[in-house]
Subunit: 314 residues, 2 copies
Amino acid sequence: MAKYSFGIDVGGTTVKMGLFNAEGEVLDKWEIVTRTENGGENVLPDIAKAILDKMEEKSIAKEDVAGVGIGVPGPVDSKGLVHKCANLGWGFVKLNEELGALLGGIPVRGGNDANVAALGEMWKGGGQGFNSIVVVTLGTGVGGGIIVDGEILTGANGAGGEIGHIHVEDDETEICGCGNCGCLEQYSSATGVVRVANRILAKNQKPTVLKADTMTCKDVWDAVKEGDEVAIEVAEQFGLYLGKALASIACVVNPEAFVIGGGVSKAGDILLEYIKKNYTPYVFHASRDVKFTLATLGNDAGIYGAAKLVLSDV
Amino acid sequence: MAKYSFGIDVGGTTVKMGLFNAEGEVLDKWEIVTRTENGGENVLPDIAKAILDKMEEKSIAKEDVAGVGIGVPGPVDSKGLVHKCANLGWGFVKLNEELGALLGGIPVRGGNDANVAALGEMWKGGGQGFNSIVVVTLGTGVGGGIIVDGEILTGANGAGGEIGHIHVEDDETEICGCGNCGCLEQYSSATGVVRVANRILAKNQKPTVLKADTMTCKDVWDAVKEGDEVAIEVAEQFGLYLGKALASIACVVNPEAFVIGGGVSKAGDILLEYIKKNYTPYVFHASRDVKFTLATLGNDAGIYGAAKLVLSDV
C-alpha cells in the first residue's frame, strides 16, 4: 500500500504544497511562487519539480506515492479538464493528464479549489463526522463547496457550489464581478460587509465607532461584539441575505451541516448567530435542524482536501 | 443475469405497478388501491401480494427478479428508512427491509417519489442523454428531483430536491402548506398559477377571457396562447418566480438540464419560454447554457424510475 500523498493548492500568487502520510497527517508543508506569465505555462512544471525534489529529499519512491491531488482557482470538470482559468492565465488544460505526465505517471486528481477545500474541512476540519456538507467561504468573494455522501458535487462544467452568485437582491444597481446584479457575494463577503456598512453609514444619524471608507470587515464585527447599534444593523443585513440563501440551498441539497469559513469567519460564533436566526424562518422544516459550524483548517483546507482526493480509502 | 424488475409508485389513493425487462421495457402495468387506514398497515402487504401474484401469473421465478424499486410520497433516507409519511398514514417504516421480507428476500430499494420519478425521466424520458439533471414537477405543488452523475441526490434526511419550498417572496401573507410564507410552490404550481391569476384579476381593468374563481391553470395557459394580456401577465409572474429559483438551483448543482414536468407542463413549449427568459438574466454564466426540456413520461415516470433503482447497470 502506498505510504504518501501530495496535496497541492494553487493560488494566483503562491502554490501551497503538503506531503501527507496514509493516515492523513501532514509530514511537510511548503510554498512556491505561482508564475502566471506566458499563459501560466510554468505552473504545472514548477509544481512537478517541487514534488519530485521533495521525493528525492525524503527518499520517497514513486511506487510509495498514492497520488497527487490538486485544487485550482477555476472550474474543473469531473474528467480533470480545465476550460479556462483566468487567475493562472490558463486556457484549456488537461490537468490530471498533463501533471501526471510531468510526474512520470503518478496518478493526479484535480478539482476546483473551493470544492477541494470543502472536502478538506469535512475530512479534518469543521465538517468532521459528517458525510454531506456545504462549506461556505466568506472571503473577498463568497465561495462554496458541496459534498454529497462524501463526494464533491462538481457540476456539469465544474461550477457546482458557486453559491456566491445566487441572486438575492432585485434592487441592486452595482454590478458584481460575474456581470450580474444582486449576487450574495455583494453583501456577505468581506468586501460586501464593508460595502453594506458604508451604505448604512451614509444615511446614519446614530453614534458609532465605524469610520466610513477606512473600516475593515473585522472592524465591523468587533463593533458588533461591543454592541455598536450601526454595526449590528450591518450584521443583520449580512445574516438576512446569507441566511435566506442558505435556506434555499438546504431545499436543494438537504445537507447535514453548513461549515462557515474564510476570513469573515474569524469573527467567530457571533457570525453563526446572525446566520441562523435568519435561516430558520425561511427554511423547509426537514432542514431546520441542520448544524452550523465554523471551518477550522484556515488556509490549509486546500492541501488537506487535495490530499484526500487521492486517499479516498483513508 | 436477472431478467425482470418491478417498479412501484405509491400514491395516496392508488399504487402504480410495472413489470420491466432488463432492457427497461414495460411488459405489464397495473394499479391497486392504496389502503391508508390503520396507519397504512396494509400498504406494503398489498404491494407484496400484487407482485407475488404477478410473478405466479407470468411464471416468473424469484431468482429471475433483479429487485423491486419503490417510490413513496415522503422523505426516504439513503438506507431506505421512512421516518414519517403522512400521505400513507405511516410512522417509522423500514421500507427496503419490510417489503423485502414480505417478498421472501427479493432486494428492495426505496426512494422519495419525486426523486424516483426524476430518475425515470433521465432514463427513459425528457432527460435522456444527460447524466446530471434537475426535474421540476409543477402539479398541485412544486416538487423536484435532482440527479447528480446518475445518482439521486437524496439529502441527509431524504429532503433533497424539495425545491417547491425555496423562499421567493418576502411580501406574501398567505401560509404555504409547509408552514412558511412565500414558497415557490405558492406561485408556480397549478394552484399557484390560479391564485396569482385571481389576484391579478381582482385589480384588473383590461379585457380578458379569464373568469375569476372558476378558471383552471389550463385556462390561463390557453389564454396566454391566444394573446390574452391578463393571462400573459400571470405567465410573466409564474416565469419570474420559477426562473429566478432555477437560477439559484443552477448556482448550487450546475446541472446539464432542467426537465419540466407535472400537470402544468402540458401547456408545452410556451412554458419553457417564460421560464428561460426569466432564468437567463439571473443565472451565473457557467450555467447560462443549461438545457430546458419537457418531461415525457407523465404519470409513468415513477414506475420507470423505481425499476431503474434496481437496474443500475442497464
